[in-house]
C-alpha cells in the first residue's frame, strides 16, 4: 500500500503508543481512585494492547518494505529497546512501592496490584514518546 509512507507509519506508531499510554495510565489511576474497583474493566488491558499490536503489525506488513525499514530503522529500535528497559525497572519499582503501600495498609492489595501493573505498562510508551517528542533530535 503506497499510502503507507515512512512518515505515515511513524504517525500510526506514535498514535498507537500514545493511546496505549493514556489508556494504561488512566486505568492505573482508576485502580487507585475508583470508588468501586469491581466496576473497573481491568480485563480491557489485554484486548487494547493486542489491538495496538495488530495495528502496528498491519502497518508494517502492508507498507512497502523500504518504507517499513525506514520507519522502524535503527534509531527507532534503539529508542524502543531503551523504553522497554525503563519499563522493566518501572515494574520493579512499582511493585516495591505498591508492596509497601499494601503492607502499610494504605492501599488494598487488589488496587495496588492493578495500579502497579497497568501503571508500569504505560512507562515504555511514555518514555518512548517523550524521547521522540522531547526535542532530543
Amino acid at each position: 500500500m503506497t499510502f503507507l509512507t515512512p512518515g505515515r507509519i511513524t504517525w500510526i506508531t506514535q498514535a498507537v503508543f500514545a493511546a496505549l499510554a493514556v489508556f494504561f495510565l488512566g486505568m492505573a489511576l482508576g485502580a487507585v481512585f475508583a470508588p468501586d474497583l469491581a466496576a473497573l474493566p481491568g480485563w480491557l488491558g489485554a484486548p487494547v494492547g493486542l489491538i495496538g499490536a495488530v495495528l502496528l503489525f498491519s502497518a508494517a506488513w502492508f507498507a512497502p518494505r523500504r518504507a517499513a525499514n525506514i520507519a522502524f530503522d535503527e534509531g527507532y529500535q534503539h529508542d524502543w529497546l531503551h523504553a522497554q528497559a525503563r519499563g522493566y525497572w518501572a515494574f520493579v519499582f512499582a511493585f516495591a512501592i505498591g508492596g509497601n503501600l499494601v503492607a502499610a495498609d494504605i492501599l488494598p492489595v487488589g488496587r495496588a496490584f492493578m495500579a502497579c501493573s497497568l501503571g508500569a505498562a504505560a512507562v515504555p510508551f511514555v518514555w518512548f514518546l517523550a524521547r521522540r517528542w522531547g526535542g532530543r533530535g
Partner: protein, 68 residues
C-alpha cells in the same frame, strides 16, 4: 567513550538536508538528526552508508573524543 560527529558539517557541505540524506541511506530524518546531535551512535552499517552517501570515509564523519 564519546563519539564526535562531523556529520552535520559534511552534510551541509554536500548541500543536503537531513531529509535528503535520510532518504539516501534509508533511515528516518529523526535518526539522522540524533546522529548529528550525538544523541545516537549509529551502527557500523549506517556509518558506512552515511560515508558512502556523502562521498567520504567513516573517519571523516566520526572520531573518538581526544584522549580516548
Amino acid at each position: 567513550m564519546s563519539l564526535v560527529s562531523n556529520l552535520k558539517a559534511r552534510r551541509q557541505a554536500a548541500g543536503l538536508t537531513q531529509a535528503e540524506l535520510a532518504e539516501r541511506v534509508e533511515v528516518s530524518r529523526k535518526t539522522v538528526n540524533t546522529v548529528e546531535n550525538g544523541v545516537f551512535v549509529p551502527s557500523t552499517v549506517l556509518a558506512l552508508k552515511l560515508a558512502r552517501a556523502l562521498g567520504c570515509r567513516v573517519e571523516d564523519l566520526f572520531r573518538l573524543e581526544a584522549g580516548e
